[in-house]
């Protein structure tokens, strides 16, 4: 293999694993990069050594059978725990509280609708609530690429409630939002993404 191509393929492999996040089959990677599995093995070897030997790099390659995954080096696991603790110990921000109340009163609800009601993109905040276990999500049975969000069972239990409908004045606020939903129904099908 030429030096130039090999470089580009290492970079391609890095960006692929970065986006995907989870362990990925070698067969699938070879397909996506449009190379043979032997070539891929060669590139993986080079990449693995680069990551390991370079003190500038904070990442490493995990191999599990026929799968590989990009992950942080063990040296930085403490750092990861620190971020999580920081994020979790903080009380909810006003924006998070707003998002949570919409999901609590109107879940299951698509992200685009939360965005519309709040007037601002809420992807990161929903993800944050998800990580904290306050909110759950599952794919919309009607629309395969869209997730629906709802308040988690754990959180309801924490409040001492058996179901969402026991939230104060649930019916009133739920109806109000349903009205807004109808008014905006033309648009929600347009710009939705799976998040």
């Amino acid at each position: 293999m030429e030096e130039q191509t090999k470089n580009n393929l290492t970079a391609a492999l890095e960006s692929l694993l970065f986006i995907y996040g989870e362990p990925m089959e070698l067969k699938k990677i070879a397909e996506l990069l449009e190379i043979k599995k032997e070539e891929l093995e060669e590139i993986i070897n080079v990449f693995e050594i680069q990551l390991k030997s370079d003190n500038n790099r904070g990442l490493m390659l995990n191999r599990i059978g026929d799968q590989i995954q990009l992950a942080t080096k063990p040296d930085f696991h403490k750092l990861g725990e620190k971020i999580i603790k920081e994020e979790i110990k903080e009380n909810l921000t006003p924006a998070a509280l707003e998002t949570l109340s919409i999901v609590a009163y109107n879940g299951p609800i698509a992200r685009s609708m939360v965005d519309y009601l709040r007037g601002v993109n809420s992807g990161y905040i929903l993800r944050n609530l998800l990580v904290r276990g306050l909110v759950e999500r599952y794919p919309d049975p009607q629309r395969p690429y869209i997730f629906l969000y709802n308040i988690s069972f754990d959180f309801l239990k924490h409040f001492g409630l058996a179901k969402q409908e026991e939230l104060p004045e649930y019916q009133k606020y739920n109806n109000l939002v349903e009205k807004f939903k109808l008014a905006s129904s033309d648009k929600t099908s347009l710009g939705e993404t799976k998040t």
């Binding site: 970065f18 009380n91 949570l100 519309y116 306050l134 939002v177 008014a183």
Partner: protein, 244 residues
């Protein structure tokens, strides 16, 4: 206001952009004289806005009123404008020039814009589980009660409600335009002349805008004539006698 309506609204350029478009269509430079030349076209465009995007009409009228000043100056060379009016015209000219120069920047964006992102990032804590202490995954905030959630959604929805109804009210008033025009012509039938000041005295902003629009329409259709005898004096609106 529904989202579908917002989407429609997005199809309309602002008044400065529109005015620039009209000037450039005729391959003119930005001068007061040339502004006077496109005034009629701008007024025609107003009717589109009035029908399809009434909630931005008021802003188009601000520009229209300045254009009318430019036009009257072009028609009546002896007309002396107030300092404020002169400044308004200069400001419009200035903004148009900036806008014209800035247009290249807008075209850069238009050409480089990709409908699908070229660059991808990772989700927040995409590999969260490996870092969660004690493998727990439920971290409720302290001191949060169900009533807090209720208070938050109550405030949020009332803000949204305000946003929706403000627009609705405005639309209703504008829709009465044709009725207003008939009413106004009725009054001219008996009075022959009407003072603009009297007509718009102690009326709401939306009503003054409506009156102004009525007048613009009627001038355009050659049904009325507007006169101001001396500077600062009352504007008189007169019905044009149809030629038989």
């Amino acid at each position: 206001m529904s989202m579908a309506y917002e989407l429609k609204l997005e199809q309309f350029s602002g008044p400065i952009e529109k005015l620039l478009e009209l000037i450039e269509e005729k391959k003119l430079e930005i001068t007061q004289l040339n502004l006077a030349q496109v005034t009629a076209d701008f007024l025609t465009y107003l009717t589109t806005i009035e029908k399809r995007a009434p909630n931005i009409l008021a802003d188009f009228l601000v520009v229209a009123s300045r254009l009318l000043l430019v036009k009257s100056k072009a028609l009546l060379p002896n007309l002396v404008l107030e300092q404020e009016e002169e400044e308004g015209i200069r400001d419009l000219e200035e903004r148009l020039k900036i806008y014209q120069e800035f247009k290249a920047a807008r075209n850069h964006l238009k050409n480089l814009w990709q409908e699908r992102p070229l660059v991808f990032s990772r989700e927040f804590l995409a590999s969260r589980f490996s870092y969660l202490p004690e493998n727990k995954s439920f971290y409720p905030p302290k001191n949060l009660k169900p009533s807090d959630l209720k208070n938050v959604i109550d405030r949020l929805l009332s803000e949204l409600q305000k946003f929706v109804y403000e627009t609705k009210d405005f639309k209703l008033e504008i829709i009465n335009l044709e009725e207003k025009m008939r009413e106004f012509l009725e009054r001219l039938k008996t009075a022959q002349t009407v003072n603009f000041g009297k007509m718009t005295d102690s009326q709401s902003r939306a009503e003054i805008i409506t009156c102004f629009l009525v007048i613009l329409h009627l001038i355009k259709d050659h049904l009325i004539d507007v006169q101001q005898d001396t500077h600062f004096s009352e504007i008189t609106i007169e019905k044009i006698q149809p030629r038989i």
